[in-house]
Symmetry: C2
């Protein structure tokens, strides 16, 4: 099993490996190698072998990795064999797209509740979810013991939303608002901001 | 000016600094320090000073950084003082949210064309854009000399779309499809996949 001492940079690559391996499996590929996987991902085979070696022996020298076995193991390591319930806060354009996104369920996640603060939206339906009142959020999150949330609210409200999520017991926040959040130790935040990614490319143009 | 030898990991942090500094400026804050900025971002002040030192002298020992000056400089380094034209491929749920997103223009980007392959969508309008035929994409991108694109198509079509973008001269792709793309040297890809970010957090739960 995983040791807590493994650097986060290694953990950050595991979902990428899992995604590529899952795709290989869906394409009927039974065996891969660190070279094969590395070529798909633009990562060196040595890096992949080193990363995986933190978690055990997954392949034999010269015979490569069993794709299905590695998918299974990575799913265990990342704890996505089951399904995590996720709260979505914000039912605007982006929140609606997320609520309707079909790509969560087979990769370990299920949006279970959607909140918004706008009285005109509360009670409406998007993607099979009835939008709930954000004021009810702390109670509902506690009752449902939800530990993950996606924040798709304007930058000006994101910190206040994060504070309430943390109070309600959420331990992981995927923040789409273009602002850095301050959270206590023990709570993790991941950020998605397309502009940050675009700016990271324009430097090189 | 920037040297090409600066590690990409440093470049990846500059948009985060720029975002936080721009926010400080909008809040009326004129002076900051590496300590202040670091606390906002959860990055050590030493790291921030070291990162910025690659690009020149931005602050004086003991007096901190002028926020507006640093915003200006980072904008220059990242080449986002003007506005980059960006093509958006895919006008589904996510593409529509991106087309309507108001957060690009004041941070250096402007979606100038939106493409889709679906005859039912071509000619329709979203967020002020008339959806164009993806078959026209290579010609239009070349004519408009567009070098950046966002890909919001299903995983199964993303590589083919990327190939056509590259052929048409695109040098930077922000890929929302949950699949790794293979591109030639000289072309950069950035990835946005919410599941990858969520899986990176569940490891710790």
């Amino acid at each position: 099993m995983a040791s807590p001492a493994i650097p986060d940079i290694i953990i950050s690559r595991l979902p990428i490996y899992l995604r590529a391996l899952t795709r290989m499996a869906s394409e009927g590929q039974a065996i891969t190698s660190s070279k094969d996987l590395g070529e798909r991902l633009g990562i060196s085979s040595a890096q992949i072998r080193k990363d995986l070696s933190h978690f055990g022996e997954f392949g034999k020298q010269g015979t490569g990795y069993q794709v299905a076995f590695l998918v299974e193991k990575l799913g265990q390591i990342l704890k996505v064999k089951g399904e995590w319930e996720v709260a979505l806060v914000g039912a605007g354009q982006l929140g609606t797209a997320l609520a309707r996104y079909q790509g969560f369920s087979h990769r370990g996640f299920h949006i279970s509740v959607v909140f918004d603060i706008d009285p005109a939206k509360i009670g409406q339906w998007i993607g099979g979810y009835q939008i709930l009142d954000q004021n009810e959020m702390p109670r509902i999150l506690r009752e449902q013991r939800i530990r993950l949330a996606m924040v798709a609210v304007p930058a000006g409200s994101a910190q206040a939303v994060a504070d309430r999520l943390v109070e309600a017991g959420v331990k992981g926040i995927l923040n789409y608002a273009p602002i850095n959040l301050t959270v206590p130790n023990g709570v993790r935040v991941q950020y998605i901001d397309p502009v940050v990614h675009l700016q990271r490319m324009t430097y090189y143009l």
